[in-house]
Amino acid sequence: MRSPGAGLPPSRLSVRDTAAEAVAGIVARPGRAGLTMLGTVLGVGAFVAVLGLTATGAGQISHAFSVLEDTTVTVADNGPANDVAAPGANPAIGFPADADTIADHINGVVAAGVWWPVALPEETDFSASLALSGETSQTVNLLAASPGAVKAMDLAMVAGSPLTTYENDTGQHVAMIDTSTAAALGISPARLPSHPAVFVNGIAYTVVGVYGSAQRVVSGGSAMLIPGTRPWPAMATHSRASGPRKKPRWSLPPGPAPRRRCHGRSPPPNCRPIHTGWW
């Protein structure tokens, strides 16, 4: 008996024969081959188009982000005064009192101003009515801001108007709130002509404007804004905000953490600014 498979090389199809058969198949059915080619071209084209659209969308998104970053400059006041001010005294100020005007003079600055978050005691009560304690909100961020800072925030107004220089310089008890805060407090933007107020621990702030969204500073799109600079000179000039620039010149980390609680517009003598920025 012969050994298994003796003398028989395995079956195989050479490359040249494969190519010849492939060509013969295409030539024999040109219509079918054409349709196959068309389908392949359409499929690859659709794939490339999807890739291109995805890349374009991603590029647009990152471009939008970089426009926001590239046109914002923040300067934090981290001078030594914060650590050495005696209790009951306002801290020394790193920024000059007319910092808004000075920053506006810089070539390319569109808007500039001072702002800082106001530290609140725990259990601070926000309410749209003194009589009703039900509609309260504990999660409102309170920001003190100069008119220039409000302009730099680039707010989308829903009703009313932004804080004015007059309100700022005369220390009026007025405020701007965002739509979600307004809804939480039960204040309808349509009610603004009747001068609704927000009571912060019993102190009334008349709502002069309701905004929908902010491009800068207001994190999470929700904050109550009150005038900042003039009535408390020591606090007011501690922060700055400036608007769109072509390129950031400098950027500094946030200032030191708050040591003492500041509250609203009533001037506690030992209140200190806690965060500064220059836009």
């Binding site: 008996m1 012969r2 498979g5 028989l8 395995p10 079956s11 059915r29």
Partner: protein
């Protein structure tokens, strides 16, 4: 003396199931070179199973099958394919020609897989077509060939590699009696020139051409001798 072309020793094929189907019960058969064997039997008697086993298209569940003395039960798939391509020619009832290739190209296809030198292929294919009497229709498409001519092309394709065994499954099933007669004459001539032929058929007049007739019934094989045409 050389080994027989076909040697079956207790070859059997059972399809699993409940109950299992004994398509081919243990069978012994020897076909020497130049034998002409007809396999007859009703539908479902196991003829096709036997043909698939003889053609190495299926593997037996028991027994041994020696083709040209080579024990196929121990071969790998690759070796079985090589053996099938070189030693066995198939002719089917439905011709199985590629409709958009000429008669010559259909025959050339059979030489594609088995290392036939490129320069020798054309000559071998033309020779095979001449041998079946179709030398004048080399470039005809199968759609323009008659049934008898198509089956002749199929036979030429089966013969082009000079196999030692020709397996025919109802080769005259699609032909009228005149064409069937001519085809059987061709097979007789090929057998006379030394080719071993196994032919499966329903047709008694076709079986009469064979020197040996094997009858199948319910998977069992029994041979009647002396029914040859000679």
């Amino acid at each position: 003396m050389s080994a027989p072309v076909i040697e079956l020793r207790g070859l059997a094929r059972t399809y699993p199931g409940s109950p299992p189907v004994h398509a081919l019960r243990p069978a012994d058969l020897v076909a020497e070179e130049n034998d002409y064997v007809a396999v007859t039997g009703p539908s479902g008697s196991g003829k096709s199973t036997l043909l698939h086993l003889l053609g190495l298209l299926d593997t037996p569940t028991a027994g041994r099958y020696l083709l040209d003395g080579v024990d196929t039960s121990t071969l790998s798939d690759r070796d079985r394919s090589a053996l099938r391509g070189r030693r066995i020619g198939f002719v089917f009832q439905a011709f199985h020609l590629l409709s958009y290739r000429t008669a010559l190209e259909n025959v050339l296809l059979a030489e594609l897989y088995n290392h036939t030198p490129r320069g020798d292929r054309l000559q071998a294919a033309v020779g095979a077509l001449n041998a079946v009497g179709l030398g004048h229709r080399l470039d005809a498409l199968p759609t323009t060939l008659s049934g008898g001519e198509s089956q002749r092309v199929a036979i030429a394709r089966a013969l082009v590699n000079r196999p030692s065994l020709l397996l025919c499954d109802e080769p005259t099933g699609n032909l009228d009696s005149h064409m069937a007669g001519a085809l059987m004459e061709l097979l007789d001539r090929l057998n006379a020139s030394g080719l071993t032929i196994v032919i499966i058929t329903h047709d008694a007049s076709v079986a009469a051409h064979a020197a040996r007739t094997v009858a199948m019934s319910d998977g069992a094989l029994s041979e009647r001798t002396g029914s040859g045409h000679a």
